[in-house]
């Protein structure tokens, strides 16, 4: 009897927590369809904020910046992180403690410390050499820095899961070092590379703090644009662009769910 009451209480608490988790997102999506300007009252359904979005050059360029930043940083991080992941695997017998510390450093450092370190560094390098003016380039550098560890760890764990004799079989079957990379290693770790790329991409699009401190005046990304708009005073357009980003995440969630189900145990 008591057990059933407990279970019922927990179920109620679960739904309450879910509501808590989704309420802020739901409000954003709801008000993105609001016909009126007011943030406090919902007067009717309209798509006017979405159509306005399309005409807003600043938003479009922020979107483009976000994409350029996410794609290029993910590509660079994929290359560098993949090499490190393989190196960690191949030399796992050695004492690589210093490398592990280095790899985890970007993950454990608080965002704000990460961001201002980069900013202070870039500003000084720019003052001294004229290179690395704050902008997309500095943002890409910063993003690659926090993406590398994730790529390296994903690739490393994929290699660890392989039968080590596969590497020897490839050698034994006449594959030169280059051909081993092209015909054996890359195809074998392809799933890991794909998921590492998507994770890097998501991390980049999601990041605000580090982008904020490394960005230049021309290189605002979507989160930076939204931040600026909120600080200036809420415009209902923000709801629309935010709702679109929430939608993108929802699609990603569904895809990841489908993938996790298809994968055998």
């Amino acid at each position: 009897m008591r057990k059933r009451t407990l279970k019922r209480g927990l179920t109620a608490f679960w739904w309450f927590t879910l509501a808590f988790l989704y309420l802020p997102l739901a409000v954003v999506v709801l008000f993105s369809f609001n016909a009126s300007n007011s943030a406090a009252s919902f007067t009717g359904i309209s798509l006017r904020w979405y159509t306005r979005l399309m005409g807003n050059e600043e938003i479009l360029s922020a979107f483009a910046n976000s994409m350029i930043l996410a794609i290029s940083s993910s590509m660079i991080a994929l290359g560098i992180g993949c090499l490190i992941g393989y190196g960690m695997y191949r030399h796992r017998q050695r004492k690589l403690g210093w490398l592990i510390v280095l790899i985890y450093l970007p993950i454990v450092l608080p965002d704000i410390v990460f961001g201002i370190s980069e900013m202070a560094f870039f500003v000084q390098v720019h003052r001294l050499t004229g290179l690395l003016q704050p902008g997309l380039i500095t943002m890409i550098i910063a993003h690659v820095t926090f993406q590398i560890p994730f790529v390296a760890l994903i690739v490393y764990s994929r290699f660890v899961g392989l039968d080590p004799t596969l590497f020897e079989a490839a050698k034994d079957l006449y594959a030169s070092p280059t051909k081993r990379v092209i015909h054996f290693m890359l195809p074998t770790i392809k799933p890991a590379l794909i998921s590492a790329f998507f994770l890097s991409f998501t991390l980049s699009v999601d990041d605000f703090v580090i982008s904020f401190f490394t960005a230049g005046p021309e290189s605002a990304t979507l989160p930076i644009y939204i931040w600026g708009a909120i600080k200036k005073g809420v415009s209902p357009e923000i709801n629309a662009i935010a709702a679109l980003m929430i939608g993108a995440v929802a699609v990603a969630a569904v895809i990841s769910l489908m993938f996790s189900r298809r994968r055998p145990a």
């Binding site: 179920t11 608490f13 679960w14 927590t17 988790l21 309420l23 802020p24 997102l25 409000v27 954003v28 008000f31 943030a39 406090a40 992180g81 090499l83 490190i84 393989y86 190196g87 191949r90 030399h91 050695r94 490398l99 454990v108 450092l109 608080p110 965002d111 704000i112 410390v113 990460f114 961001g115 201002i116 370190s117 900013m119 202070a120 560094f121 000084q124 910063a142 690659v144 820095t145 590398i148 998501t202 699009v205 999601d206 605000f208 703090v209 401190f213 979507l222 989160p223 939204i226 931040w227 909120i230 809420v234 709801n239 935010a242 980003m245 929430i246 995440v249 929802a250 969630a253 990841s256």
Partner: protein, 307 residues
């Protein structure tokens, strides 16, 4: 047959080749992190010991001035502003971490009691909101807590806030935002602990102890402790350095250490002071990691938590 020695060539050639391979694979990434993170962070630490110059830029000579400023000593004598900010950061971290535990613990337990096919979906439901951008999530709370919204009006009618004030900006809004932001970080490690729970121990405890509370305390709680502690570190460290949530939901009187630090850089006010604050955060981070490692070793359940 006596084996006298090895021709050095074959062995050393192999070792040189391996070393070159290690260098080739690891050097690009390692040097990237060293150049673009270790060096900048080292520079930042150095800045903390320099003097504030024009435009907030650091200059020589070295001094402890910025740490004095951080403690509240300025041109106009001592003022408590910075100290309040520090204490507020600590307080907010403590309260929000505590609240996150209170919410996450039953949720993680509940998920672990549900049917196995549902569990991944339930976990996903908990995690998905944290995939959206932090700024957008916080913006959602601004919409919910602004003056004139149903929640604010409810609070008003209960006499909790002054009329027409709204629930935000306030310290309460910051706490709420922190709890919202970090809930998944606590649910995941706790769920992992519950999933591994030894049911036999729980049943034995139910036989041994008369009350379910004591059974829980002696059989269930100790087994979930590693997950709980991992969660606390995962929540408390980033909460202590939080910037976005207090900036948007806190207003002037809700500032935390992250804002203090950021303002010294964003406005070009005082880099050394900001750097000193960053050092404080770094110290907190390393204490947290150290505690987690120690506990992980002692409990033997060295949870590798990956978010």
């Amino acid at each position: 047959m006596a084996y006298t020695g090895v021709t050095p060539s074959a062995r050393s050639r192999g070792m040189v080749r391996e070393a070159r391979h290690l260098l080739f694979t690891v050097a690009p990434g390692a040097s990237w992190i060293v150049i673009f993170l270790v060096l900048p962070a080292a520079y930042l630490m150095g800045v903390a010991f320099m003097t504030n110059g024009p435009y907030g830029l650091p200059q020589m000579p070295l001094s402890l001035e910025s740490f004095r400023r951080l403690a509240g000593f300025g041109f106009l004598g001592w003022s408590p502003g910075n100290l309040y900010t520090l204490l507020r950061s600590l307080w907010q971290t403590l309260v929000s971490t505590g609240l996150v535990v209170l919410v996450a613990y039953p949720i993680a337990y509940y998920i672990s009691t549900c049917r196995e096919t549902w569990r991944p979906i339930m976990l996903l439901l908990v995690v998905v909101p944290s995939w959206t951008n932090q700024v957008i999530r916080t913006f959602g709370w601004m919409n919910l807590l602004a003056p004139g919204t149903p929640l604010s009006e409810l609070a008003e009618s209960l006499g909790l806030i002054a009329p027409n004030m709204g629930l935000y900006p306030s310290n309460f809004a910051v706490t709420l935002g922190l709890v919202y932001n970090f809930l998944p970080f606590m649910v995941l490690p706790l769920y992992a602990a519950f999933e591994k729970l030894d049911i036999a121990q729980v049943e034995a405890a139910q036989d041994l102890f008369a009350s379910p509370v004591r059974a829980f305390w002696h059989a269930v709680f100790p087994q979930t402790l590693p997950g709980l502690l991992a969660g606390i570190v995962l929540v408390a460290i980033p909460a202590f350095g939080m910037y976005v949530i207090p900036e948007l939901l806190g207003g002037g009187k809700g500032m935390m250490l992250g804002n203090l630090v950021a303002n010294q850089f964003a406005g070009g006010a005082n880099w050394p002071l900001g750097a000193a604050g960053a050092i404080l955060m770094l110290i907190a981070t390393f204490i947290g990691l150290f505690v987690m490692r120690r506990i992980g070793k002692r409990l033997g359940g060295g949870e590798e938590v990956v978010i």
